[in-house]
Symmetry: C2
Subunit: 272 residues, 2 copies
C-alpha cells in the first residue's frame, strides 16, 4: 500500500460530494476555489490528535466525525455556511486513516485537498472554509452592556462522558445563520463556558454575569460550566433571541462572575 | 505558561505582516478573507512532522522556515501569489513552538489563523492560500506531446545533505508567476523528479522522456533523480522557456524512461 494509492482512495471517496466553486480538487499542488462576488470567506483550522483530543480506544470513524464537527462548529459561530474542507491526516497505518476519513465524510462537506503522512499518533488537521455575505460574519467582539447572554443548548454532556465519542454532536450551522444580524457577538464553546465567556467579554471589552448554567442530563454543574466540546454556541443580543438565556452583559473591565476553569492545552492535562 | 499566552505571543509576532484582504485575523473562531473580484484562490496544506519531515536535532527555526517554504512552493507551482497562511503547531513544549514560529515568520507571509496544542512530537500543518487571475492557474494536467520538459534548478541538494536544514531553499514564486500563460503544465518537485514527472505525465495523459538530470553540487545522479525537497519547479511548454531543459513529452500511455523511486510516505522510511 502506498501514499499514492491512499490518495487515490481518498479522491474516489471524496469525489461524491461536489461544490461548483471548487473548480479543482484533490490531485494537484493546490485546490482552486472560485469565490462568488459579494462573499467573505471564513477559515478555521483545528488539530485533532490521538490521546490529546480523543481517546486511543475510541473508534476512528467517530473521531473523524468529531474532527470535522469541531471545524463546522467554528463556521456556525461565524454565521457562515461551509464551502469546503482541507483534511490532513497522519497515522501509523492506513486502515485507521481510512476509518477516520469515512467518519468525517458523513457531514457531506466537499473535501478540496489535504495531506497524508506517517506519524506515531493519529493526527489530523482540519481546515474548513465557509462563506458569509460580505460584512455579515458574527464576531466575538460585539457584545454591549444590556445584552442578554445565550447558549444554544444544555452543556456538559461531553465532559460527563469524559470526552469519549460517539456520539458526535451536530454543529449548530442553521442556528448560526439565523443569528446573523441578530446576535451582537457569537462564538462556539470549545473550551468550556467559563473560559469562553471570559474570552468573549475580553474581546468585547465588557463584563458578563451568569445567572444560570443549564446542565445536560447526567452532567454536573461543574461539567456544564467548565467542560467543552459540546458544539454549542455562546452569543449575546437583545432579549427574546432563540436559545437559553443564561445571564447578561454589563459595563466594566472584562470579567465574569464565574472562575474560568475550562480547557487550556498548555496548563491542563487530560483528554480533549 | 498557557495556551492563551502562547496565542497572544503569536498574535503579537504575526501582527507585523498585514494583508488588507484579511479583514479579521487571529483571535476569533475564524479568520475572514475578503476576495478581490476576478481572482481564483488556491489552497495547499502540508504536514511537517518531527522525525518524519525533519530531524529532531535540526534547529526549530530552520524547520519552521522549511515548513512554510513547502507550502509556498506549491503556491509557486500554481503560478499564484501568496495571500495568507494558517499555521497549526503542536509540540511538547512552548519554547520549540516559538522558535518554529520565528523561523516561518521570515517569509513575511500574513498569518491569518491557526491552532496550538500539545503533542509528543513537534507537528505542524501549514495551509497557504494564494491568488491567481481567474482561470490562469498552472495545473499539472496540460502537458502535450512535443512539449519540452524543464526544471527550475539543479536537483538533489536536499538529499545530499540527508534533508538536514538549514539551509532552507527559496520557493520559486517569481518564476511561477512568469510561467503563467507560458508553461502548459507545472508542479513542484516535492517527492523527487522521477516520481513527480510520472505524476505530471499521468495527470496529462502523456509520456515523458528524460535526456539529462542536472545534479546540484555534491549530489549524485541518483539523488538528483529521486531526491525531493529542493523546492524546484517541474514544468512543460514550448522550446525556449527559461529554466533547464531536461527532456521532452511524447504521445503514449503515462510513463517515463526513469524508474519512479522518489518519496512515498507509506512505502519508504527515512527523513523528509
Amino acid at each position: 500500500m502506498s501514499e499514492q494509492s491512499l490518495v487515490e482512495w481518498i479522491r474516489r471517496r471524496t469525489g461524491r460530494v461536489r461544490e461548483r466553486r471548487v473548480v479543482l480538487g484533490i490531485g494537484d499542488d493546490c485546490a482552486i476555489y472560485r469565490p462568488t462576488p459579494g462573499e467573505d470567506l471564513v477559515f478555521t483550522t483545528d488539530f485533532v490528535i490521538e490521546s490529546v483530543h480523543f481517546h486511543s480506544d475510541d473508534p476512528a470513524e467517530a473521531c473523524g466525525a468529531k474532527a470535522l464537527a469541531r471545524g463546522l462548529s467554528d463556521i456556525a459561530a461565524m454565521g457562515a455556511e461551509p464551502r469546503f474542507a482541507l483534511i490532513s491526516v497522519a497515522g501509523p497505518e492506513e486502515r485507521a486513516i481510512r476509518h477516520f476519513y469515512t467518519g468525517l465524510l458523513k457531514w457531506k462537506i466537499p473535501i478540496a485537498g489535504g495531506d497524508v503522512a506517517r506519524a506515531q499518533k493519529l493526527t489530523c488537521d482540519v481546515v474548513v472554509c465557509g462563506a458569509v455575505p460580505r460584512g455579515k460574519a458574527l464576531q466575538r467582539d460585539g457584545a454591549r452592556p444590556g445584552d442578554r447572554i445565550y447558549v444554544s443548548g444544555k452543556l456538559g454532556a461531553a465532559a460527563a462522558r469524559e470526552y469519549h465519542v460517539p456520539p458526535v454532536p451536530r454543529p449548530r450551522l442553521d442556528l448560526g445563520r439565523r443569528l446573523r444580524g441578530r446576535a451582537t457577538a457569537c462564538m462556539d464553546i470549545s473550551d468550556g463556558l467559563s473560559t469562553d465567556l471570559l474570552r468573549l467579554c475580553t474581546a468585547s471589552g465588557v463584563a458578563g454575569h451568569v445567572e444560570r448554567v443549564p446542565a445536560a442530563p447526567g452532567a454536573t454543574r461543574e461539567q456544564a460550566l467548565h467542560g467543552g466540546d459540546d458544539y454549542e454556541l455562546l452569543y449575546t443580543g437583545p432579549e427574546g433571541l432563540e436559545g437559553i438565556d443564561i445571564g447578561y452583559v454589563l459595563k466594566g473591565s472584562p470579567a465574569v462572575n464565574v472562575e474560568p476553569r475550562g480547557w487550556d492545552h498548555f496548563t491542563y492535562n487530560g483528554h480533549r
